[in-house]
Symmetry: D2
């Protein structure tokens, strides 16, 4: 493993790309840190792995914490807090699909929760992983753009030089041509969302005025209390 790690980190540096690794065992944390990886990822199966999350409190590296596929919006944030309780702040939320009556897609991409994370519940960056969420190559493009529009500012996407011969998750891996098109589309979608966000009007900004009007109406009709 050590040798493989070194190769990946070296390749990443050659192309100026950060290296993200999925961490499975708390005991492996220092090994990865020493190897020079740039970021940890907690995979969906370990979303509620207490020992692992506790151990990650102490790493200075950023952590992408994937949402467990059975976790409610807020319950997920409580698991994320487990990493952050001692002061760690560089954590990235990740919506990668939850269970539902759906059979057609592998999971169900929950853009409502992406929106809730970004517009209501959290200040952390939100990633969308439409590859695992849909499990279908041709849906990754539109579902990724939907995730950005809902509030994501990070995109996780699987691609392969030839996904038809990929050892794992080939059905959801993009062809290089598709990746190129998606990257450009994601950039334009991101630009539009940032622009539209300037006009976004939360209820908190206008409710007060309506409440005042209702108070005034009540006073007019029933007299002031």
């Amino acid at each position: 493993m050590k040798k493989g790690l070194a190769l990946i980190v070296k390749a990443g540096r050659e192309f100026g790309l950060p290296t993200v690794v999925e961490i499975l065992d708390p005991a492996d944390v220092p090994r990865y840190e020493d190897a020079g990886v740039a970021c940890f990822q907690v995979g969906e199966p370990n979303s509620k792995n207490q020992a692992l999350l506790n151990r990650l409190r102490a790493t200075p590296l950023p952590v992408v914490h994937k949402r467990g596929n059975s976790l409610d919006t807020e319950a997920y944030l409580l698991w994320v807090e487990r990493i952050m309780t001692a002061g760690k702040e560089n954590v990235i939320l990740c919506e990668r699909g939850i269970t539902s009556p759906n059979r057609y897609t592998r999971n169900t991409l929950d853009v409502g929760s992406i929106a809730a994370f970004h517009y209501q519940l959290s200040g952390l960056p939100v990633a969308v992983d439409a590859s695992h969420a849909t499990g279908i190559r041709d849906l990754v493009h539109p579902a990724t753009l939907a995730g950005i529009m809902a509030g994501a500012s990070v995109v996780l996407v699987e691609a392969h030089p030839n996904p038809l011969i990929a050892k794992s998750d080939g059905h959801q891996g993009l062809f290089p041509e598709q990746l190129r098109v998606l990257v450009r589309a994601a950039e334009e979608t991101w630009r539009l969302r940032r622009e539209l966000d300037r006009a976004y009007l939360s209820s908190a900004a206008i409710e007060k005025e309506y409440l005042a009007r209702m108070d005034a109406d009540r006073a007019r009709y029933f007299g002031r209390r």
Copy 2:
């Protein structure tokens, strides 16, 4: 009821807006048609109402058929086909949220299925109803835009002159100011999606080339069969 219907239709005509009514009982179909409504809506609770869907085969009016909240992507399309079996074609699909482990949002907006309807399974227009899908006023804006980006070309949204005093579904109703902002944002998102759709690359368009390359490799290494 007859009088109320006439008033709504009249109001619609005055403002040049089509009138959509939710139909509950097969026996009411001619009554609504005669009153001059422009479009029928099958609500979520009646998504699998056999008698109602059978009856709607014979109406010339368009029908918005909301997806039942427990229906898989393809199972839903089979229920939609029930309306279409005798040749009816003016049907609009509608994703309004399905069940999931989520508690925070009222339902879970399934953009993966919107993408599947539009990019893979159907030629029918797809509506997104983010009001029922999220049940939370402040999430309707981003979730609607996500739905458009995923493949929707129709938007259903609830608004109210003052949702704080609405008789029903007030938590998800937009303030008029929010509706105005959303309409403009939806138009810009729609413009971007139509533009990006021109570059969308389906696997069918490139798989053949990869398969040919794999065949050539096999022939080179193992000899032609």
Copy 3:
């Protein structure tokens, strides 16, 4: 249809069996009543069919109302109340499986809700339909007995002279030999449950004593307030 109905009712009378029919259209109610059927069934797809439920308020016949597969325990009871609001009381609850992450069984039999209906929320009889809940012939027997043990006093089960050639739902239909064994097992399970129910101890019956003890402890240690 009229002729078929008459045949079924006649057959039922010959063997001293009540006739249950699934009702789909509110307009059909009097037709079935006049034909002499003994009981209506509202199928799962119509569990939230407002027009049908409203119409059934007026029938003197008992109604088996199947739970919709996306309905929470209490939400289902609110739909059942729709039939009962004008005073109708002869309604039978029916748990026939809900959606879940399960793929193996057709639906997921929710015995926790059966227990809640019987021991906490309702005085109505509860039916268990393990045929639709599991969709697998060999699981119908144990799942039915589980339903009885959880609180059901009515059993719905599909059988066929030869389920291998059944026109519908053959995978879940019992062979006659299996039906015979299940009926006997259900009777013995029912006998045991009624016996055990005499010893069942609800929290309401003992909580008071524990609360009194806690009050006494508090008084002893901190003085009476």
Copy 4:
């Protein structure tokens, strides 16, 4: 921790009871083994914890592996196999409730899967944990008996000298009086199930005869092929 462990093991030995501990970190396995615990438990949050399951391959102690609340029947068995791949056999399956549209109960007890484990898919013993499955004290009794009737031969149940002041999971903890009644009821239910199991008739035992009859019919009507 070491001191607490020793106390629990000592208490267990005094009363002739085996000690089960929930294991969270692979690194803790030898510590628990050395302390003399009798059995490991993998909790629901760690049902898909790869590093932990891999490590448990090497323990001689039995392992209760709780099913993840988003796992399909068969998908769960694949995770269980992870512990068993090197030859370990003393593993106990455990159904403790899965996600569903239910809000009333904490989870949804899946007796259909218990039946599938016992009657179709596995030779391992199956435990039912109705405390976590329902989360409601008064439903634990009927849901436990339902689990036994469905195929469970092991029962997990939470109790407390006074659950009203329990530090954790008090809503689902039984009062001692309720525990006593449940134990007796479970024994009688178990006795009945073992008796009824002798008459249980699987399709495999009778299908052949029906298939032969169908072949004979075909030959009679259409001639032998």
